[in-house]
Symmetry: C2
């Protein structure tokens, strides 16, 4: 591919990319968090009442600064706009005329009613990248349905398979559809950036949550139904087996992976059962695949007889991959994560000391940094409105009507 080096001191890969982010809650903010951590200028447009994630993510020292919001919005700017009030939409459009990327997760008819369709915005910025995150692809019959994480977990098949123990479906206890699709949205925007650098814009992209999560689950579990006629049922039985789980020891849980013949035979040895190596049920990969439940059962019984520390020592000596199970509390104390700086304590101007999560990807010429913590509602309203040419009178009118808010004046009030 061609290279077009730019003159700039900064080595952040996305320095200079201006993203107007109309999303809220998780899927969109998680996507733009990746972009912001690597140098993009992400401008978060929020209603003056604030992104819902500020409030549904638990308590915080000052209102509207919940932990979940903080972990999704560092290194971003906040411009508060009530698009139903006079002047706000004009200001947004002026801003979009300066942007490289617009991303939103409104339902497309709602975006069009506001004058924020792709056609509308490309008129303002002919090489714009316009990314819609939708619940359901607009070519399909569910196009107008609202989407939420739990609905997508249920519709994608993920909740149905997450039924270990008693066979009842359960959600994975994270908004994992939002977060998984969020990373895909970042991918999509980055591909559009590459496309635009090579061929110019505009580029309109749509990322549908349902289809994306269904593909995510089915790439694993379409399995024998991939073939026609089917060679069997969907679902990888090795992963779905209820005994495929962290193993209980005498004092806790341990995770062990033994896939290859060498690893499995070494594990049998470590378990004091070298005889299993010649047991026809377990002697080769294919046989083990057929009898995996039985192998897990025998393994789990034997592991219950020693402590986690004893097993770690035995397994390490035998070169079998193993680690103890972490809880949410213990993972925060993990010494390797301390070594690599995942947790970064910073002083938030209003929330006191907080623990930030540094993006752990390392470039030879750039390490993601916390340039500033997640902003308050409208913390950058005035500077951004000034940057698009609004004078003090116009900004004052927007503040007066409540079309925007400004954190400094709120804090003073």
């Amino acid at each position: 591919m061609s290279q077009a080096p730019l003159a700039s001191d900064s080595q952040a890969p996305l320095e200079g990319l201006r993203v107007v982010d109309l999303t809220q809650v998780v899927v969109g903010p998680y996507a733009t968090q990746f972009l912001a951590d690597f140098g993009a200028e992400v401008i978060k447009i929020e209603h003056p009442s604030g992104d819902l994630a500020r409030w549904i993510g638990g308590r915080s020292p000052t209102p509207g600064m919940a932990a979940k919001y903080l972990h999704l919005n560092r290194n971003k700017k906040s411009l508060a706009l009530d698009l139903k009030k006079p002047g706000a939409l004009d200001a947004l459009k002026k801003l979009i005329a300066t942007a490289d990327v617009v991303v939103h997760n409104m339902r497309p008819p709602a975006a069009a009613r506001l004058g924020l369709s792709a056609d509308d915005l490309i008129k303002l910025k002919p090489d714009l990248i316009y990314c819609s995150v939708v619940g359901f692809g607009q070519q399909g019959r569910y196009r107008d349905k609202p989407a939420y994480d739990s609905i997508i977990q249920g519709a994608s098949g993920l909740a149905a398979i997450n039924n270990g123990g008693d066979g009842q479906p359960r959600f994975v206890p994270m908004v994992i559809a939002d977060r998984t699709v969020g990373i895909m949205v970042a991918n999509t925007i980055l591909m559009a950036v590459v496309q635009r650098m090579r061929r110019g814009g505009p580029q309109v992209v749509e990322v549908p949550m349902f289809e994306s999560m269904a593909a995510f689950v089915l790439a694993e579990h379409m399995f024998l139904k991939t073939f026609e006629p089917p060679l069997g049922s969907p679902g990888d039985s090795r992963l779905l087996d209820p005994n495929s789980r962290p193993i209980r020891t005498a004092d806790g849980y341990i995770c062990v992976t033994a896939n290859t013949d060498a690893q499995v035979f070494a594990m049998f040895e470590a378990m004091g059962r070298p005889d299993l190596r010649t047991d026809p049920r377990f002697a080769d990969k294919r046989a083990r695949f057929e009898n995996i439940g039985e192998m897990f059962r025998i393994r789990n019984e034997i592991f219950a007889t020693r402590t986690t520390a004893q097993w770690l020592e035995i397994l390490e000596a035998a070169d079998i991959p193993a680690m103890p199970l972490h809880t949410l509390d213990s993972v925060l104390e993990d010494p390797h994560l301390a070594d690599t700086g995942l947790f970064e304590k910073i002083e938030h101007p209003t929330e006191g000391t907080i623990t930030n999560l540094r993006n752990p990807v390392r470039f030879s010429t750039y390490e993601p940094q916390i340039k500033w913590p997640a902003p308050h509602i409208g913390e950058h309203s005035v500077e951004l409105l000034q940057s698009i040419g609004l004078d003090d009178g116009a900004i004052g009118a927007l503040l007066e009507s409540g079309a925007t808010v400004d954190f400094a004046s709120r804090a003073a009030a």
Copy 2:
């Protein structure tokens, strides 16, 4: 950002990007599947015995073409190389000298022993993007530990929280750490591509699985422990509540999302319990957050009294987001997914009719296509070795020694 349009007929965003992919199984192949679907030339380097995913993903009509492998390797080329045999490493290095990106998931000392460290390869291609997918960041004490999906699920805290029902930790029944980090690897490579287009190369990037998954989980669940002193425990109780699950109806399960006051009050009405609206436990968002388990319990009791179809009708009329739970079987029959073309039946040259998963992201100028199905071991060995200038004698010698294999000659044998 600057634009550097290229002359090319193709509108695929990554057309012309040559990726030498030394990864196997899931995390790396899933990353490069995104790149291949959007036009990159991904050259899969496999040992002549084949990527492990060809075999651990279940039965297939011909050997080594398991469904899981097929869903991770479409649109890629396969070059079989046994790097321990004479000539193979030289051929790989000639190929890398023509590449834009090299990605591997070897442990870094193993890569160095093979002569495949970043320093080694940048000598061959001064603007190379070199991406290492590692289990654990190389700055930390676990740097030499092997990583597997289940170990990372356990170490990141994900298995500990996925304990609904009986409190016992369980893996999410997918290799979800591999897949989640795989999408992040695609992101990272794309950012490096943007960086290289703007400033030139080389660029060396490292994506650590443990840190990446720990950050993925903790962005959700560090929660009140984000603050210092902590405002409470880690873990979002709303997501961790065992009653936060698909709801049993008289004849199946339904997923319902009601977050806002309007949605929750409409749901109380639909449940025949408008009185709950003024119940101090549920009258506002904060009260509901404190009493979420009790709200879920009441909801679940009432939902058991009608069928899924009845509830869908009631909820749709009340504008409350809801969808029935899909199983792996039923999601494959979903009519919206048929409308949007997620499932594409194609004729595989050796495996018969198979159902492919089309990437559901849509660009205005490009729709991801299945250009060809996942290759056999060495299906492109000869053409790729020719393309880097090896003559028939040299290629014959590699075939003879088993340093490479070629699917055509294997098929004929």
